[in-house]
Amino acid sequence: MDSDPRLAAAESHQPEGFSRAAFLAGLRDTAPMMLGIAPFAMITGVSAVAAGMRPIEAIGMSVLVFAGSSQLAAIALLAQGAGFAVIVFTTFMINLRMAMYSASLARWLRRLRPATRAGLAYAMTDQAYAFSVLRFRREAAMPRRDYFLGVALPLWILWQIGTAAGAILGAQVPAGWQLDFAIPLMFLALLAPAVRDRPSLAAALVGGSLALALRGLPFNLGLIVAALAGIAVGVASEGRLGGERPAASEDAARQGPKPQQPVQR
């Protein structure tokens, strides 16, 4: 049952058939992102073979997992000889934000058939979520399934082609090029925008230094201890170090992602 009558009215206008206009609107929104995704996909493919995978394994990973940061993390951990459970746990941690996206989009997508919802969920990315939540909030009549597909499907195709190309080309590159170094570089580039304020800097410093100190532990368990300690320090230092108010971050989780803020110092 819907408590908001306007939302209920908009729901009744959701078309039954495929909306080409909505798909194209999604495609237009996602097009500028592709320039950034293509090299990310290729590097993931290159790193996978640099870490000892066969190209077919790198391609299979992209199809089965389809989540860039967690794929790169798994590749880095496999290269360090980490165990099965540690890699699965790391995947869980890195992709935990997807549960937040799914909570935020649920009210717009819940009228779709469960199989459709599961299909859209498989294609969920940071980009698909961010664009969808902005559009759905502003345009109640936007056909949601087809807009979401317009954003998500091109990214999925690009990700598969990019990692496959990287894996096949990467297999030809001699080891002297040290392409495996692209993995930590990629993580540095992802880490920079994640450090937005002092509590998140504290989380990164604790997570990083503890992981280094505990790297001798079996199965890379040090990574998990370090990550959990970093998260705990981040939460505990909120307010004390002048980060986001708990109320503000809760609101952000409900409303969707904020545009990247400039660093406050």
């Binding site: 967690s70 909570a103 469960p114 920079a192 450090v195 990083g208 990574l223 971050s249 809760e250």
Partner: protein, 110 residues
């Protein structure tokens, strides 16, 4: 890890990721995340990414300059570029560029 174990790993990673993505889309309507979990989620990216990258930066590479691995100065330059530009491409190209330059110099000198 190789062969069947690797494919089992990818399948498990895929199931875990799909479960997270589909969670609230398929759960009953009024299910929500507890506030503390929401706050903690904000610190997952910095803590986890830093915990992955730091040991990798100190892992031994192929070229050393005296006592220092060539990867360390390359990483320091890359950190500076990542922090200033926030560009993945700029971070990758300068980091690899510095590593290749230092490796070339080291092999010439050695």
């Amino acid at each position: 890890m190789s062969g069947a174990a690797l494919w089992a790993l990818f399948a498990t990673m895929g199931i875990v990721t799909l479960a997270l993505r589909a969670s609230f889309l398929l759960l009953p309507e009024r299910t929500t995340l507890p506030p503390l979990v929401r706050r903690a989620l904000a610190y997952v990216p910095p803590a986890v990414l830093a915990a992955i990258v730091t040991p990798a930066l100190f892992a031994p590479g192929e070229v050393t300059l005296g006592l220092v691995d060539a990867r360390l100065p390359a990483a320091l330059v890359a950190i500076l570029v990542a922090w200033r530009t926030r560009s993945v491409l700029a971070t990758l190209t300068t980091g690899m560029g510095v590593l290749w330059t230092l490796s070339l110099l080291a092999t010439r000198a050695g």
